[in-house]
């Protein structure tokens, strides 16, 4: 246990250092542009998995948290020209609050009812933003990026390092939750909420916690969007495309282990980038949909589950030899 923990932290630090080194090197600008999106999906998928994978509450409203994070950043930037770190913190805070509110819904709603309610929240918030003139309404808003900080050459490079840091942070939090009593409680809720409640698991507190943390993480990912695109509009920020991606990635990677969403996000995110560039952006949503259905039907444990199965099959033969 302790050995794997040390390994994890070394890996985590290595990822951030590597990202920083690549960012100050002379790599092609497009690499950062695409890498940002992939890492942003690592954050979203990991966040989704805390509620969906561990606790079994399927959130279709990733777009809501993502959009709220993005528009919190927009408001702060427009009103106070707040720096990036403040935008991220505020995005996390507001989305976390929204998560807490959604968590209260779980008092009465489970299964598909909870999922539909999250879609509803996403569309209602989108409608509110569309009718909010200050942030540009339906047409969106153009933002002027502040000058980039030393030692980065371009703003995208800096954002790339920031999102790498956030991704590592998100995965660490997910891993902590998974291995602590919190994860055991959430899994108990997924298997049988009644049984969990009867054996003394504080189900409501745990669900509220999971919703808040998951929402806050999605908010941080969203808060980076305005500076990344220097333009934000409601239809794409609150889009169901984020919801389906954030759900498909953990399902494809495997929902029971923190590595699952990471594997799923890197794999699917990379495929999406390649397909978008080489064929079309419509087709990348199709790829997500087809892979999601394929994995859900044929490999419910995801890639991590398949790898474990493979290891289990191999292990006895290795022992015999």
């Amino acid at each position: 246990m302790t050995r794997s923990a040390t390994g994890f932290w070394i890996g985590a630090v290595a990822v951030v250092v590597l990202a920083a080194l690549v960012a100050v090197s002379g790599a092609n600008e497009y690499f950062f542009f695409a890498g940002f999106v992939v890492l942003q999906f690592v954050v979203l998928a990991t966040a989704w998995n805390i509620l969906g994978g561990y606790a079994g509450y399927v959130n279709f409203g990733t777009g809501a948290f993502f959009g709220v994070g993005a528009y919190t950043a927009v408001v702060l930037f427009k009103a106070l020209s707040a720096p990036l770190w403040a935008q991220i913190l505020a995005g996390a805070g507001v989305s976390g609050l929204l998560g807490f509110g959604i968590g209260l819904l779980t008092l009465r709603l489970r299964g598909i009812f909870f999922s539909i309610a999250t879609v509803a929240v996403a569309i209602i918030l989108e409608t509110l933003v569309i009718n909010w003139r200050y942030v540009g309404g339906a047409t969106g808003i153009q933002l002027l990026r502040p000058p980039v900080m030393w030692p980065f050459e371009t703003y995208t490079r800096m954002l790339f390092v920031v999102v790498a840091l956030l991704a590592v942070l998100a995965v660490s939090i997910a891993r902590y939750i998974e291995t602590s009593w919190l994860g055991r409680g959430l899994r108990a809720i997924r298997d049988s909420e009644e049984a969990a409640e009867c054996t003394g698991v504080p189900t409501l507190k745990l669900k509220l916690f999971a919703c808040t943390v998951s929402g806050a993480m999605m908010g941080t990912a969203g808060a980076l969007l305005p500076m990344y695109q220097s333009f934000v509009e409601p239809a794409s920020s609150f889009s169901l495309n984020y919801s389906v991606a954030a759900l498909a990635m953990p399902m494809i990677g495997g929902t029971s282990h923190w590595l699952g969403p990471v594997v799923g996000a890197i794999l699917l995110g990379t495929i999406q980038q390649v397909v978008t560039v080489t064929i079309s952006s419509e087709l990348n949503v199709l790829v997500v949909g087809v892979l999601l259905v394929l994995f859900v039907v044929a490999a419910p444990e995801g890639i991590v589950g398949l790898a474990r199965k493979l290891a289990r099959v191999r292990a006895p033969t290795a022992g015999a030899a």
């Binding site: 969906g52 079994g56 399927v58 279709f60 819904l105 009465r108 709603l109 299964g111 598909i112 009812f113 999922s115 539909i116 309610a117 879609v119 509803a120 929240v121 569309i123 209602i124 989108e126 409608t127 509110l128 569309i130 009718n131 339906a138 298997d191 169901l240 389906v244 759900l247 498909a248 399902m251 419509e282 087709l283 949503v285 199709l286 997500v288 949909g289 087809v290 999601l292 259905v293 859900v296 039907v297 419910p300």
Partner: protein, 290 residues
């Protein structure tokens, strides 16, 4: 600005639109309400039906006839989808809920993107003698296409209500919804009945899709708005109640139409989802819950 006539107009239009929403939702009312299938891809099937109608109408067919011709095809698709869902999820039990939901969510996206790839993102419509004209009653103008949708919605609801309460298979479907183990003990095969029922639910979606494209232009992404409308109607109705579906459709139609008149079109999508959240929060079992 605000006048009584305007409100009256809104209510009349709301009644027509409401019946139309009931027709959109009645297939879901069977699939989700009675059979407990988390059929989040239902609106995508609606749009698929609309595009099927569009294709046939380009060959010179009347859209309503096209919708009726599509029904047997959709019936078979429905049977296939349910069979697949059953084999892949329902039979495996325990974690079926989460994965079944994800499955239908994925199917919805596949249909949407396949339509974009095949037809592009432009809006499509159909032509018929009753589209574009309207009936004048005093100062009020009622479009004929809304009347067609209104009549068809009433016929569909009445037909399904009769079918479920009078026919042998219809009552078997209701029995599956009420108590599946009991049905199994009586020697009936619940899976075959559910498969049949899901086929009917999907067949109804074909004609509803034809109405969708009669009432207005259709684009592949339209299913996203109808997730809210159809689920709002079905949940508000109380799962599986056919008359409830009509009443709930009317409530949604009238509220949407009033909001449209008072606040403007940009607020309309929030009405169905807001109402849905309200119902889920206050009375999840709906108006006519079983």
């Amino acid at each position: 600005m605000f006048s009584f006539e305007l409100l009256l107009d809104a209510v009349v239009l709301g009644v027509l639109v409401g019946c139309f929403y009931a027709a959109m939702s009645i297939g879901l009312s069977v699939a989700f309400g009675l059979l407990d299938v988390p059929h989040i891809a239902h609106p995508a099937f609606l749009v698929l039906g609309a595009y099927g109608t569009h294709l046939l109408s380009r060959q010179g067919w009347d859209p309503l006839i096209a919708g009726i011709v599509l029904m047997p095809v959709f019936f078979l698709i429905g049977i296939g989808v349910y069979r697949f869902y059953y084999e892949a999820f329902e039979r495996r039990g325990s974690e079926a809920g989460v994965r079944g939901l994800a499955f239908f969510f994925g199917v919805a996206f596949i249909i949407e993107v396949a339509l974009i790839l095949a037809f592009g993102v432009d809006q499509r419509m159909v032509e018929a003698t009753y589209i574009g004209k309207s009936l004048a009653i005093g100062d009020m103008r009622v479009p004929f296409r809304m009347l067609v949708a209104f009549g068809m919605a009433l016929a569909l609801t009445a037909g399904l209500t009769l079918y479920l309460s009078k026919s042998f298979t219809g009552r078997a479907i209701k029995a599956v919804a009420q108590d599946e183990p009991a049905l199994r003990l009586m020697g009936a095969n619940p899976v075959r009945i559910k498969q049949w029922a899901f086929g009917i639910a999907t067949a109804v979606t074909a004609i509803a899709g034809a109405l969708l494209i009669i009432v207005g232009p259709v684009e592949p992404g339209l299913d996203r708005v109808y997730i809210g409308r159809t689920f709002c109607v079905v949940v508000l109705a109380g799962l599986g109640s056919m008359t409830g579906t009509l009443v709930a459709g009317l409530i949604l139609g009238i509220s949407e139409s009033i909001v449209l008149t008072l606040a403007g079109a940009s607020w309309a999508p929030a009405v169905s989802f807001g109402l849905l959240l309200l119902v889920l929060g206050i009375r999840p079992q709906g108006l006519f819950g079983r």
